[in-house]
Symmetry: C2
């Protein structure tokens, strides 16, 4: 069962939405709310954004733009000698006006410190960051990773600060791109969750909400920091990245083995997922994929779904268990030393991704097939992920954002432009390690279990029998309406 959460805000309008019989309290965003930010950030004269990786550039710029004209300064802090100083300067931050500096200087000079450094750096430097926080400051994180690490090593946050999280359900470049596009379509953006871990002065909630609205989140829903890191680390190992990668590898080989040309096999697997299937889900929901198939296609979809759902769910449950036990976080931390000696290789040198480059170069978008088998396998994996999170009691908004909207509105469009392999090779270390660990497991589960099961007897009680009536479709419908439908623009 989903956990019951609620919050109070003095500044923003809290709405209660009812999803699948469960009430969730949320806050809608929009540019018309930006004038409220200074009031919601009362007591804060400087926001320090630490780090310039994926989220750093997006969040620092969005916050600066959203707070333009107010008295609140947004400053970027980087580690001494970081090569990112140049990029930050190019984005308009500068040592001269105090909006760019050494990270611990910025930490000490800020009342609200948003730490967006890599997970490995977080594990290494958190103690020094804690020690440099002002008394009564607000510590902001965009990911619960640090909480998981503190639990693993038996440490805690300092008691004299607010600790809040605002976690955009999309990667940094999407957070920036949709914010920029949002100048024309009010409310376009990446949804975010927020969590209050510590509130020492009663202002933590409004600080967090102001941060989220300032980033351009169409709507902000509540979670806990623990629930957030579990679903986030799980989701990127699942359908968002590792799952989709393993799945298309297995499907590509299957179609080739059945006689398809490499190009057709690529179109029917990777292209179908990141193109028409993803776009259809984004605009018409998960059910929309099924509904737009003809009768023969619906049969193929169901066969693929029935054969894929359970094997995929078993892998997903294993991932969830590994995240919950702390193992995945511990893996990322212990990998640091190894990666210096054995840097991660890229995954894009295989035949499949070379073929993919050519296919993308010659792409005619409207001719990409919505392959019904691929659709059934992909949707089954997505539904299995939804069910694993649901059974673990995550908030429904978190579930649809981590399993559906982040895929269709943020990651899949990037993969469509540059390739799934490119995405895997260019995401955070945490996501990359996880994706490399789990993608082959999805692949093997498809090949060892799903494909052999295709010849088995179909029955009315297969997993697909409960697909059309699943409560998540209504949830996605409600949640989906809270963001304007904007196809994100990604340069290839």
């Amino acid at each position: 069962m989903a956990q019951e959460l609620d919050f109070e805000t003095q500044i923003f309008e809290k709405e209660i939405i009812e999803v699948a019989g469960t009430k969730e309290a949320i806050v809608r965003g929009g540019r018309h709310l930006l004038p409220l930010l200074p009031q919601a950030l009362e007591g804060i004269s400087q926001i320090g954004v630490i780090g310039w990786g994926s989220q750093g550039p997006a969040q620092a710029q969005n916050l600066r733009d959203s707070l333009a004209g107010s008295d609140i300064k947004v400053a970027v802090g980087l580690r001494e000698g970081s090569s990112s100083f140049a990029a930050a300067r190019e984005a308009g931050f500068s040592e001269d006006d105090g909006t760019l500096g050494e990270m611990f200087d910025i930490v000490r000079a800020s009342d609200f410190v948003i730490v967006l450094i890599s997970d490995a750096a977080m594990a290494e430097h958190y103690r020094e960051i804690f020690d440099n926080l002002r008394d009564g400051a607000t510590l902001g994180l965009s990911h619960g990773f640090l909480l998981g690490h503190l639990q693993n090593v038996g440490d805690t946050f300092p008691e004299n600060v607010n600790v809040v999280a605002v976690c955009p359900k999309g990667m940094g470049p999407s957070v920036r791109a949709l914010y920029v596009q949002g100048a024309e379509v009010n409310g376009a953006g990446i949804n975010a969750s927020f969590a209050i871990q510590q509130d020492v002065n009663g202002k933590a909630t409004d600080h967090a909400l102001a941060w989220s609205v300032g980033l351009g989140s169409p709507y902000t829903f509540q979670t806990t920091m623990e629930s957030e890191y579990r679903s986030d680390i799980f989701g990127e190992r699942g359908i968002l990245l590792g799952g989709v990668h393993g799945l298309v590898e297995a499907l590509y080989r299957k179609y080739k083995d059945e006689g398809a040309t490499p190009e057709d096999a690529f179109r029917r697997s990777a292209e179908a997922v990141t193109g028409p299937i993803s776009k259809t889900i984004s605009h018409h929901g998960i059910l929309g994929v099924y509904e737009q198939l003809d009768d023969a296609g619906k049969e193929v979809f169901k066969r693929a779904y029935d054969a894929s759902y359970l094997p995929m769910k078993a892998v997903l449950q294993e991932i969830y268990d590994e995240v919950r036990s702390g193992n995945e976080i511990r893996s990322v931390v212990v990998a640091g030393e190894r990666l210096e000696k054995y840097p991660m290789s890229t995954i894009d040198q295989t035949e499949m991704w070379h073929v993919g480059e050519q296919v993308r170069a010659a792409r005619v978008e409207d001719e990409i097939p919505l392959d019904p088998f691929t659709a059934g396998a992909y949707v089954a994996t997505m539904m299995a992920q939804i069910d694993v999170l649901d059974e673990a009691g995550h908030p429904l908004s978190e579930i649809v954002n981590e399993s559906v909207i982040e895929a269709t509105d943020s990651l899949n469009p990037y993969m469509h432009a540059r390739g799934i392999a490119y995405m895997v090779d260019n995401c955070s270390i945490t996501a990359r390690l996880g994706s490399r660990k789990w993608a082959p497991r999805f692949d093997y589960a498809m090949v060892q279990e799903s494909f052999p099961a295709l010849d088995a007897q179909q029955s009315e009680t297969g997993p697909s029998a409960s697909f059309e009536g699943h409560r998540i479709h209504g949830v996605l419908d409600t949640v989906g309406q809270m963001r304007p439908s904007v196809d994100i623009f990604v340069a290839s």
Copy 2:
């Protein structure tokens, strides 16, 4: 650097062997030493062997046979209602003469309690076992898993008992089969390591050595319980099981993609490894494989070796890190609940293993090719495993047993008879979970890194340049001479 270990025995003859400039103290076995066992087991009137899985039947029967005619009784303890009572009775143990009973009854009635239950059962029941041990008893384990689990959960062994380990470097059926064959060839058997974790009465070492000699170990070398569980859990995820599985999956597809028939692809991959390559290593060492190739074959071997060594080593180092951090043991423990809901599927339903069945049925042993590419990739993986263990400081005897002899003398012959997939599907839960987790990683590393690297420039400084001069060949030579060369008999 290898850790320095030494021990004192009152009963057996300690020998110092020099391997690669390092001295190791060992004890050779043999049937002529069986009369020494009662003296070495002074103070023990009953040995309780708990569990009837892989090691249980082998060790209980070997010890009973070795102690026949002495006053020491060997009794088997099983959990109430276990379906294994019938099998234990069939092997000659019986409730009537007190050599078979409920496990905790047997624990309480024994002075030497050898616990051979599954790792998951160990994690669940260890506290109750500890509580039922006699004061001053000797607790025997054939695996350091429990120590790793205690470290993870912050618990310890009881202080009033000896804690020793004797760990045969082969699965139970091999321990029994070679012991039986040893009636004709004195000293045939599976090597074992031993470790003294606690010695409360000065008798722990001789108890352990008596146990090992009683099992029929040709030679027994020393390790620590921590070193043992690391190398053991690592090894089965590596070349012994997970590594060999992932490797042949990748090679099979490669040969097929290059135009080989499925049957030929299977012969050149799985059959070549478990047949001629393994047998050559067993009789002529790792170098023997290379030396028996012609010049063209040697070139192919080196190309495969150079392309495979580093990618395989990176995966192996990741496995080692996961074992050392406690993650792998924690994974096995948390899997318990999940496996009730999602039982492990078998991996043998893919085309490759169906082809394999037919190939084995029609096999002409002498016609199996010693494919030089497969040999180079397999040997590179084996050498990479050796180097990871060596860099982590494991005793050299442990390294060659966990990386070479256990493969060639125990596991590969079983795989050759029944298939690698059969072996994966029928080993311990711990090995099976690990093999399913890591095999696909070896596969992906081969496909993503090794195969693309084949076209890259060869250089004199590739990993193969240091292959022929590697110090492990001398170690294997010394160690290999301490067991009579007996090809194990395995019914298909």
